[in-house]
Point group: D2
């Protein structure tokens, strides 16, 4: 199984990037292939139909190829103003312009880290709909990490053992889910 992971937040020190790296480590420990892509390196612009008419940006093409190759995708998105971040939504929108639509029939696990008490839970709800509209299979359970600025050790692991175990179990359940769709 090949997994693709990315953070919806671009900031270098992003809590969601940290969470993605924990997810990647868990997958590698279990001997799965895990590729992390940093959206910042892709320089995807704000969607504009006039840009699209001149040609799909290279960063969108690159991400689409990675999505096409993946057997499952793990995304950690920040919550901005009680909803999905513009950056993640913009990424979903651009990739949806490629044919065949890369998201279609892909399994997706949604995570979200936030410094507040609610752990991006409202963003997680809003993030499901566009993927499902595009025919992806979003795993029904999600992972919300509240108070994320205090959640990581210096070496980048989750400091709370119970939280780490919960995430590991969730990723294993997501793997079982993803295997069912591998040949679709």
């Amino acid at each position: 199984m090949n997994y693709l992971l990315f953070s919806g937040s671009l900031r270098t020190a992003s809590l969601n990037k940290k969470l993605i790296h924990v997810g990647s480590s868990i997958l590698k420990e279990k001997n799965f292939n895990a590729e992390v892509i940093d959206l910042k390196t892709l320089s995807i612009p704000v969607y504009d139909g006039d840009i699209e008419a001149e040609g799909i940006p290279e960063g969108v093409k690159k991400l689409s190829e990675l999505v096409n190759k993946a057997d499952g995708i793990i995304i950690s998105g920040p919550e901005y103003n009680g909803s999905i971040s513009g950056s993640l939504k913009n990424t979903i929108d651009w990739v949806s312009r490629i044919r065949p639509i890369p998201w279609e029939k892909k399994t997706i696990l949604l995570m979200g880290a936030s410094p507040g008490y609610f752990g991006a839970i409202r963003a997680l709800g809003v993030s499901k709909a566009p993927f499902e509209t595009l025919g992806a299979y979003v795993f029904p359970q999600t992972f919300a990490l509240p108070k994320a600025s205090e959640a990581f050790t210096e070496s980048g692991d989750l400091s709370d053992v119970g939280t780490k175990k919960k995430l590991t179990d969730l990723i294993m359940s997501f793997d079982s889910f993803s295997r069912k769709f591998k040949k679709d």
Copy 2:
């Protein structure tokens, strides 16, 4: 009353830009001030905390000033993949970084045009939450224009008289609503 209007879609030939221009004409006929801003001219990048740390982009500052001056804001957003467009959400997110938050206590009318049958109705629902989280007063009624590629005359007006009247009435109701909050 000073109204600010903009389309969440950047594309030059955008149906939502057409709808914004109809809205602006209606306001001017009723002797209101109506300023239309084209987000494309503002070149707002995808939100990235590292960019913010170097300084809020000029386009965000300019939009924030226009929002601050307005007594009410009319936005027409496209529906991408059954939800808010990344472009509109990104704009909301960037402006929310200015202090005091420009959206706070502003009245907002949400519209949406789409070429399909459902007229951006799902995007309209999703678009309310972030504005309300930020303390804006979103007018409860919205305006969804389905089959929008056939809805405009060559001169840019709405071809259906009933639809035009419905929009005019809605904008007048929104004006009554906005007046209540003018001195907040």
Copy 3:
């Protein structure tokens, strides 16, 4: 100003009923009229068009009259399964069958208490849409009370002073909001 308050939960020992009583006390201390109605006493059945054809149930009529008389309505709803409770949605639906629709142009403050960490925050989001569809003015800010089983004193007040102040301030802001619509 006459305020109507009710809990979306029917259970006698409901945390949302407790929160409603705190809200009512705050209003009375500020010399507002505050009427609390216990939905349980209204025996509203699950909505069924066949029942409606035989006549609107008395409990629905009674609630509708109370809504009609109110200058503002405060509702505290539980969160069931990450969404609005069936009981509250059923109540909204039944009252929406009366003409003119009692919810129309009414101001509404939504609160939610839950024993968990997220304080009914997902239910609050879902609860706004039906009221707004019906033309009500839902106050953009809401009040979510997490860990509500530990939040009340024996005499039924909120034990945390800061939380009590936050609720008091919110209700006062809601009162300013409601006054704007009093003569609509």
Copy 4:
């Protein structure tokens, strides 16, 4: 494969009941077992924790057993006031009180019929979240039937051949999806 089907609307002449019967016919033509349960015969009350404390109502127990036996569930729900109907949400909530939770790991196809232009599309979006919170696998595609009062023949079939084919294809895709989870 055993399928359970029900309408979220109780009314005898409900458009959603008609749609459920079309779904049931399609399944039977394809030699699947299809059981239709009429929620009206179950007399499920509005959820009240005090009723639950005295014992789960018989109708809830009966529905839970049917859910337990099913390999997939097809639900057609009306849209009331731009959201899920209180009747369907109440049914979800009651069944969620049984242990183990009957909805968990069940595959669910959501449909919605409405007399209006938007075909219950907003209700469909809201209906997914509670099922997913409870661990069900909701099929990402849904079936929205607008203008449903004109959509059925006198014998109860869908009058439009294209619409019938679309529904048949969707149910077959849902069957492939459900088979993947049969042994979970």
